[in-house]
Symmetry: C2
Subunit: 359 residues, 2 copies
Amino acid sequence: MQKDTILQGNCLEILKTFPEQSVDLIFADPPYFMQTQGELLRTNGELFSGVSDEWDKFESLQAYDSFCKAWLRECKRILKNNGSIWVIGSFQNIFRLGYIMQDLGFWILNDIIWNKPNPVPNFKGTRFCNSHETLIWCSKNKNAPYTFNYKTMKFLNNNKQEKSVWNIGICIGNERLKDASGKKIHSTQKPQSLLEKVIMSSSKQGDLILDPFFGTGTTGAAAKKLNRHFIGIEQNELYVEIAYSRIEKVKTLSNELIQGKLETKPPRVSLEMLKCAGLLSENEKFYDKNKNFICTLTKNNKVKDKDATLSIHKMAAKYLNKENYNGWNYFYIFKNGDFVSIDSLRYGYEKLVNLKDTI
Amino acid sequence: MQKDTILQGNCLEILKTFPEQSVDLIFADPPYFMQTQGELLRTNGELFSGVSDEWDKFESLQAYDSFCKAWLRECKRILKNNGSIWVIGSFQNIFRLGYIMQDLGFWILNDIIWNKPNPVPNFKGTRFCNSHETLIWCSKNKNAPYTFNYKTMKFLNNNKQEKSVWNIGICIGNERLKDASGKKIHSTQKPQSLLEKVIMSSSKQGDLILDPFFGTGTTGAAAKKLNRHFIGIEQNELYVEIAYSRIEKVKTLSNELIQGKLETKPPRVSLEMLKCAGLLSENEKFYDKNKNFICTLTKNNKVKDKDATLSIHKMAAKYLNKENYNGWNYFYIFKNGDFVSIDSLRYGYEKLVNLKDTI
DNA sequence: CATTGATATGAATCCTACG
DNA sequence: ACGTAGGATTCATATCAAT
């Protein structure tokens, strides 16, 4: 499949041409079906120009549901089994989207609130100012695996776990694409930082990202910047043209964060492997961090104290009076005159293996 | 109907006993259908006691839908035509609720995000920390009137229009109801300030508020404090007992804010009334704020310039080159050697009337 | 150049009482 | 129910002109 390209034409028909399980991530920003009525005047009497595009008009809520069911069903077919999908909407449509996605078997991982510090006010004072939009993030099925770059997101959030409410300004100023007369080209252009957060959190370097409602290409720009591939689908020829020239100018970053280095897992080496490599002896004595002797390693890789034979995890939990605990982080052995964490032995094993590979 | 009471028993059956159009406001905090998988452990190995109550168990998503359709349909029947309804939920159930409410003909006014500064973290680092819940606020039908205390909410928000994302801490500390052993009594007790904001914004003093999932009575406590009436429905006898004793202790406030004084409209005095009171003469000359003569008052309370005869609003808009404008804030007359806003004359009229009343 | 003030504008289900 | 007259209502930010 051709990557980093925009397919111009009808969204649903183009989606049907994709092979099964062919994309890693989907971001969809469909029409919201706003159902606005008449004109809205600003408080100074001027006309407010919101969304009055033809593409946002539907016959009824039922017609909107059918449309969404169709493209979401295709998205499910196209998505890889370990991929995930994001959709964005507002109160007018997000409950339709979420309901349909659950019915199709998508499994909701989070609903994310895009909180806008600078929303359009409610000019007439008739309701609360609508200052947010909602994104729904789903894996393909209930127990399907998915990519979540937890440590990267934590690092980017002052080393605090990232939450489900994101404060991001709306797309204005230089970022907003305008025509020669200064008029906005797309009525609902999303801020690129929103897309970057989506892509950064839930895809890997080199992944293929599909945006079935590409518009002026914010998803493509963010994907290129973060060293991912994209495919866009967009009906409007002008949008396609603008998106291409916009993405052309984007430079791809490459650093350890974007490469996902923070997400590399510690080595998973078993007690058995450590014994085979000679890093643990049979009947090795295990101590706690205060150098108290706790238990002895057995032949079948359990540990034994005076009362019981347990896994290293259950044994650690027993001494901490907890339900569960990671024994790798609890036990030490005495080696060459020093106490050494059993977890650190696993890094030693990794080194030995790498050494072998070089012979 | 008995007010300020809790009906103990099956929610749906009790709802069916209510007469049509009998309550002003509904707040519903239904079971969430969390579908948690087995036990959830904190990182230190302790068991996390989230929501695993019997009342949160449903056979399937379809069973949950049917249940919600049934109680929401009754709520629609019971709600007054100028009433409104709030429901609260999280990503597990809010899309079911919103979809069903739209299908039942409720008209969404806002979706409100309860953003928690102190959420339960995601212990396993598998997703974004779910740090919010969503409330949906609906009027009974598309064009139905509803109460929204806009100015009160603005006043309470540093005189800025209130938005759709509310930052409110979760219910902890002294506010959280606990049993003798210090264990929380209800697993999902809501913070009272959340309920106060709901009630303050969308009901009037003396209104009747229904909570079909009353729990330990947060809605009742907030209603009593803000001088509203409540009816609660709750199956669990222990919750009912605790709610009664809790609400007993609440003191009712009464000040101008709670009485809704900020929502009273300014005097509506017509041009005709001002003429009758002698505050405007026939053929009065109208000027703009820069003392330029614009137009003349006519017998039928329009104004006439050299080209046309229009309402004061249309005339003001014409000179400002706007679609619309409030003429009361645009025109001045020359009186006793000074230029006076025609709007200020209306306050003068009010004084005259009050003077008469004292004779 | 720095500061101040006026103006423009952004996914909007945006009035209501009365006849 | 529906049309119409009367009249109530805005926040944050970017840009640009003026000082």
